[in-house]
Amino acid sequence: MPTDLLVGLQISLAGLAVTFLVLGLLTLIIRLLRWIFPAASARPAPKEAQPEAMTEQQREETAAALAVAVSLLENQPKRPDGDPALGKLLEP
């Protein structure tokens, strides 16, 4: 029984020590991260997660929309009205 308890005490000491060690490391890591990658000078407006491709995509869709518009103007007799399904097809 005393042996068990001794083992327990050692586990407790070791466990607490390593736990403090790891959390202490995390403190350092956070400081390091903040130091290497500081926030932009003024507080930036919270940048919503918009991947670059989205704007890429938007650019293309605008181009496509323009192309459709031109094409519609040129082919007006053949295609009398805008196609409501087109928007759907342009979706990614």
Partner: protein, 377 residues
């Protein structure tokens, strides 16, 4: 055989209901009552309670062979899949911003694990073997998935009681913490004002934090790796900002479905014949002590920081170093405002609270490693 004999043969189940079954059905009903009427962690205690009822109804076969609860136990508890998936969801929901703004709060997340070791020692004193004592100690992590993960590896026969204790005591935060906080701190300490100035954190730092944390914790404590990795994966899904589909899947579909099935499966381990023994009462009792000692440890460390900081640090914040997120941060805010209505400790306490989540995982992994090493060597 006549139809009446058939019917008689059919109605055997009530006669096979042991008193242990009856007690456990009552326990299941109490858990459901606590979940519904008292709102004690209902998303887990309600399925656990229902599972406990099912596990104690005779002749249903629901916990054996290909019975539903056996299938769920095999699919997600035995291999630890469910608690880890839940951690992905928790990580996706957790904003570590307050900790990134106040990195010194991290140490409080270590102090808040104090109860684990007190409990472990007490359980050894009471005669539990080491692997069981450590499993009881892990209740002091006050963190459901961590407790389930560790207990399932070290003492699966205690899984039900430990899970119930971990989740129940998480719910008791608003009841248990305030008196301890008032007892261990002076009015003067509680009134220490801590101005909060929001410090902007760059997106890069936010994204790197979960990755680097995974690397460091895994290298120092490999047995904690699955836990920390899933928690941090969820957080990376959140902070990266480019995989919202996955983030939503993690925090909704994965977390909800897994929580329901995990609760049922854990309830399904609570068969009366196995569950009703004096050890279970010990587990529940010592578990409560673990929780108290966590709070004590956090507060004492808070008082140390109060002294080291020349009375610029409000020691109440130490009580948030446990992992019951965000309940204990709220309690700190409330008790702090009782002392001085102008006190605004919430954001500091949130930092300590998220650190407590990390500390619980680390402590769980370290405990697992230490016990495995001692028992193996």
């Amino acid at each position: 055989m006549q139809a009446i004999d058939l019917i008689r043969a059919l109605l055997q189940a009530p006669a096979l209901l042991s008193w242990q079954n009856a007690v456990m059905i009552a326990a299941g009903l109490i858990l459901i009552y606590l979940a519904v009427a008292k709102d004690y962690e209902p998303v887990l205690l309600l399925p656990i309670g229902f599972g406990a009822i099912l596990a104690n109804l005779p002749l249903t076969g629901i916990t054996e062979g290909e019975g539903l609860l056996a299938v769920l136990r095999e699919a997600g508890v035995a291999n630890e899949l469910f608690p880890l998936l839940i951690f992905v969801g928790i990580g996706a929901l957790t904003d570590f911003g307050p900790l990134l703004e106040n990195p010194r709060m991290a140490l409080l997340g270590a102090a808040g694990q104090f109860g684990i070791y007190v409990t472990l020692l007490l359980a050894l004193l009471l005669g539990f073997p080491l692997r069981q004592a450590a499993s009881i100690g892990i209740i002091g992590a006050i963190d459901g998935p961590t407790a389930i993960y560790v207990a399932n590896k070290l003492a699966p026969e205690m899984l039900g009681a430990i899970a119930v204790a971990a989740y129940s005591y998480m719910s008791l935060v608003p009841i248990i913490q305030p008196p301890i906080m008032r007892l261990l701190t002076t009015e003067k300490e509680r009134r220490v004002p801590m101005p909060y100035t929001r410090r902007p954190i760059s997106k890069t730092a936010r994204i790197l934090f979960p990755i680097v944390t995974t690397l460091v914790v895994s290298l120092v404590s490999p047995q904690a790796s699955p836990l920390i990795a899933t928690l941090m994966l969820g957080n990376l899904l959140r902070e990266s900002g480019v995989v919202d589909r996955l983030r939503m899947a993690a925090q909704n579909e994965i977390a909800n479905v897994t929580t329901l099935l995990l609760g049922l499966a854990i309830g399904g381990t609570m068969n009366g014949e196995l569950f009703i023994r004096v050890e279970t009462l010990y587990i529940l009792g010592i578990g409560l002590l673990a929780f108290v000692m966590d709070t004590v440890g956090g507060l004492l460390f808070g008082k140390l920081m109060y002294l080291l900081s020349r009375r610029q640090f409000n020691p109440l914040i130490g009580a948030a170093g446990i992992s019951a997120f965000p309940m204990s941060a709220r309690i700190v805010q409330r008790v702090g405002q009782e002392a001085d209505y102008r006190n605004f400790l919430l954001m500091h306490a949130m930092g300590a609270n998220t650190a407590g989540q990390l500390g619980s995982v680390v402590a769980g992994g370290v405990l697992l490693a230490l016990v495995t090493q001692i028992l193996g060597g």
